[in-house]
Symmetry: C2
């Protein structure tokens, strides 16, 4: 399928688009782990400047289609496809036959400021428990999850909870049912700390999901901030009339 | 609320985080159009290097919280909040009291390659009509929408359709009902042409929604690619058990 030309397409832009289309076509014929041609080889093959190839390769890298392994570049594994759902990250991963893991970053005792108190419908100054974990899929770091819970509802949680397991399952065991979740989905760039925790470049676009979950009495259970690597994750949703 | 310190937080990262937190706090007290202090003023006020302030300002700019107007920097308008829904872009905008507009980029006659034929369940080589439009909200460019339709189902469309109106409404008028949509949501960076059409920096994270819509007989209606400015758009979704 030929790309249409438009009034806004200048020669420099067009050349870049042609190279991107050729690289996409090349990638379609390759599988995960295949070694990808070098910048120099590609510049010669397509008869363009190395700078044009370099820009296109950088885009493929940030898009998670290729990855560096030492000095070579290989075709990256496909993105993890995750349904937008109320369930936990673990449940979604297991449903796809992937292993889900978690790496502890830390428990933090917070005190609710005005915004957090309003969000969790607790008093200003009430204790809040914050749990921060890195999410892994098949051993790869894909997300950073920060959960804030009203501490009085979960006595002993920080001592008894196995951080490698599902927090949703633990909350359900305490007799609390997830009946409604409200999510906002944004894109963002990671800050330096987040980039380090997720082993990405700070220029990699990320998903930022902010969720408030409500229980059977419509009381907020948690406020959750999930940062997912945009180069490794695709969300899906099916809607019906 | 004090940011927690962790084992991975190095001094340089911490200083950047502190400046970001202070700028966020500053922004919380300002409204759209307020003029934002200069890089030099902020560096003096927080007693940090101008490079540290510059990095934090760049993040706020790409996040759509501040924007440049000539030589000054002002607080940006809040992001447009759009529910993830089956309806058209127009309907979602109107429901929020915003005006929705469209700028024509072009009609293109395509021929289905294998992938597109499979997606639209038409024959390889069958004619496909492609419509590309820039979406605007209250006059600002927020998205770029590329719709591909099996040409045989929509005779005369390119001649009769008013590109400023809703394509969904036009399709419904032809007796076709939208009964199911399947979306994937990714993050991406715009290429040079897309960045020019949406008046953004090529480093701005974007949403990429790919949709296939199905009719009452479960036949694909359209394949749609929507690129939304991540600095101007937030999606929301509410789920129930």
């Amino acid at each position: 399928m030929v790309e249409p030309m438009t009034a806004t397409a200048e020669p420099r832009v067009l050349k870049h688009q042609v190279v991107r289309a050729q690289l996409d076509h090349l990638l379609d014929g390759m599988i995960e782990g295949d070694s990808f041609p070098s910048e120099r080889d590609l510049a010669e093959r397509f008869d363009v400047a190395r700078e044009t190839v370099r820009q296109a390769l950088r885009e493929l890298l940030l898009a998670g289609r290729i990855e560096r392994r030492g000095r070579t570049t290989v075709v990256a594994r496909p993105k993890v496809v995750q349904p937008l759902a109320m369930g936990s990250y673990t449940e979604a991963a297991l449903a796809q036959g992937l292993t889900a893991g978690r790496i502890m970053v830390g428990w933090t005792d917070l005190v609710a400021d005005e915004l957090l108190a309003e969000t969790l419908t607790i008093d200003v100054g009430a204790p809040v428990l914050q749990l921060e974990r890195v999410l892994t899929t098949d051993g790869f770091r894909v997300g950073l999850e920060t959960t804030r819970l009203p501490a009085h509802r979960y006595p002993g949680l920080a001592d008894s909870f196995d951080y490698r397991s599902s927090l949703y399952a633990e909350i359900r065991r305490r007799g609390i049912a997830f009946t409604r979740t409200v999510d906002t989905i944004e894109t963002t760039l990671p800050d330096a700390r987040e980039a380090a925790l997720l082993t990405v470049d700070t220029r990699t676009p990320m998903f930022l999901l902010n969720r408030i979950s409500y229980d059977q009495n419509d009381v907020p259970i948690e406020q959750r901030r999930s940062l997912y690597r945009g180069d490794r994750m695709t969300f899906t949703t099916t809607m019906r009339a």
